[in-house]
Subunit: 320 residues, 2 copies
């Protein structure tokens, strides 16, 4: 076992910080460390928190951390921001948060912001969760901004997923529709002092009740109201997390099916990522790619044909 694995597993903050930075930077050597670290994972409880910009997720997470710490739990926080191409914004966010919990050794906060053609944010986040898990945090809160596929992929790594909304979305609650409703274990209508909170709660209830699949496994997602800035409703959220945790643990079959489903999701994402990293990088750095580009720009070649030619050459013998 390498020195870094030992350090991370014993909760060394510097080692953890460096490892997560290396994950975000996609340093290749990280992979071996993650393999060795894996036996130390599997103890933390992972909570995903997602919702559109402006719903107050950060404040909510902040309050949840205070409550969890009050109960003596250690907490790791990952703020995931797929829309930030340079880490400027994410770092600013870190600093603002750090002020409150910065002197607390029981709290570890990091932002993830990888993006670009090669994607990999889902994978980096999963790996960072493993690291915080191995370092011994009791709870890991993963906060994502947005409601796209990235966010859904990320929160599917969580044990409990919280969807945060605000009143006054009107008919646009439709926009949240099935994809995000489907992954929500707990719904929180934040800023509940705003006009229309009751309507948002009712709309949500209707949509959840229409979605019969939800009841198959016996968990009906609660809909809570909160005012995170005034610390209202936070305790109730934590109680529902405990309820959901107990629910998941209450059946061996359910737990095993969940483990299996999670493994399938994680491995598929990981493989997808790996394929893109290895094959796509080779391709876009090739002369053939540049040549094809030129021809497409001059409209001498269509991109569909260019793509087929390049890809079939690349993966000819390895697959099929």
């Amino acid at each position: 076992m390498s020195e870094i694995v030992k350090k991370v597993a014993s909760g060394d903050i510097r080692a953890v910080a460096k490892l997560i930075r290396d994950i975000d930077d996609k340093v290749p050597e990280v992979r071996e460390v993650l393999k060795d670290l894996y036996p130390f994972t599997g103890k933390a409880y992972v909570v995903g928190i997602t919702g559109a910009p402006g719903v107050g997720k950060s404040t909510l997470v902040d309050q949840m951390v205070t409550h969890l710490r009050g109960n003596g739990q250690t907490v790791g926080i990952l703020a995931v921001d797929p829309t930030s191409p340079f880490s400027g914004g994410a770092i600013l966010g870190d600093r603002v948060r750090m002020q409150r919990h910065s002197l607390d050794e029981g709290v570890f906060i990091r932002s993830m912001a990888t993006r670009g053609y090669f994607g990999g944010l889902t994978q980096s986040t999963r790996s960072a969760i493993d690291v915080l898990d191995a370092m011994g945090k009791d709870y890991i809160l993963v906060e994502t901004v947005g409601v796209g596929q990235d966010e859904i992929d990320i929160v599917q790594s969580a044990h409990t997923t919280i969807i945060v909304l605000v009143p006054g979305m009107g008919d646009d609650i439709q926009a949240l529709k099935a994809g995000i409703l489907e992954v929500g274990d707990i719904f929180v209508v934040n800023k509940a002092d705003r006009e229309g909170a009751d309507r948002t709660v009712n709309d949500l209830r209707l949509m959840i009740e229409m979605d019969e699949k939800r009841y198959k496994d016996g968990w009906k997602p609660p809909i809570l109201t909160a005012q995170a800035v005034f610390d209202k409703g936070i305790q109730e959220i934590l109680e529902e997390i405990e309820n959901h945790k107990a629910f998941l643990a209450s059946s061996v079959e359910r737990q095993s099916a969940l483990q299996h489903e999670k493994a399938r999701h994680d491995l598929t994402e990981m493989i997808k990522d790996q394929i893109i990293q290895e094959v796509l990088a080779d391709i876009v750095n090739s002369g053939e790619f540049e040549q094809a580009l030129q021809s497409i720009a001059e409209r001498k070649l269509d991109p569909y044909t260019a793509c087929d030619t390049i890809v079939s050459k690349k993966i000819k013998s390895g697959t099929r």
Copy 2:
């Protein structure tokens, strides 16, 4: 040239509808049709419209269509919803919109909702844009819900990208940060009668002015206010689209650089998609994958090692 290509290129609505449905369903034969159709593309002007749920994008698009039609322009609309796993929601959206423009032959509306492990929404949308372009629409409006990487990838296919916000996002305008600001050519603060509209406009202005890269090419994104439900501010948006269009056309070098950049983006996305489709499908349907899953669920194997083994076997001889 096949019958379907002829039909689409002559604007046959049934043929177009079927082709787009086949694209969304990923029918393999579609690819050859798209190749043959490509020479008919390149004439339409593509406008991307994105923003968080609840900002009123659909209403805005609806009003823009009315104005464009008033000017005698034909319009194609693609509503892209990456969060909807089944097309239920998207179809509902279509119906609601259809009511208004359903009898107008100059308007063609479709929703795209592909999702899942194999992704491909960006690619399907690009192909659907090609189809609407080939069928002869003057303007194609691509509306996406959300602010994730998918949305950024999609709007990068547009000539002009409009970012829609609402007042009252407060500090959370930060959440929009660089990624989405970077791709915006025009910003619209909708629901501008709400409290805080001035502040949102000012916040935006500050953020755009801090981002010096924006000025390099000489286009300073205008920030407009609108009240789409009352048809206020729509004409101004269309004027700024025309301004941006004229700006893009005003320099041959700029236009050629843009063509090239767009070709690079499109081809990279297309190749990425193709690789995932071909390789990942093979892998997740293999016995080896299922075996690895079982071992991971039992914690006998770590997912990193499983991934490395499977991927290196798959792309061994084709690459590197």
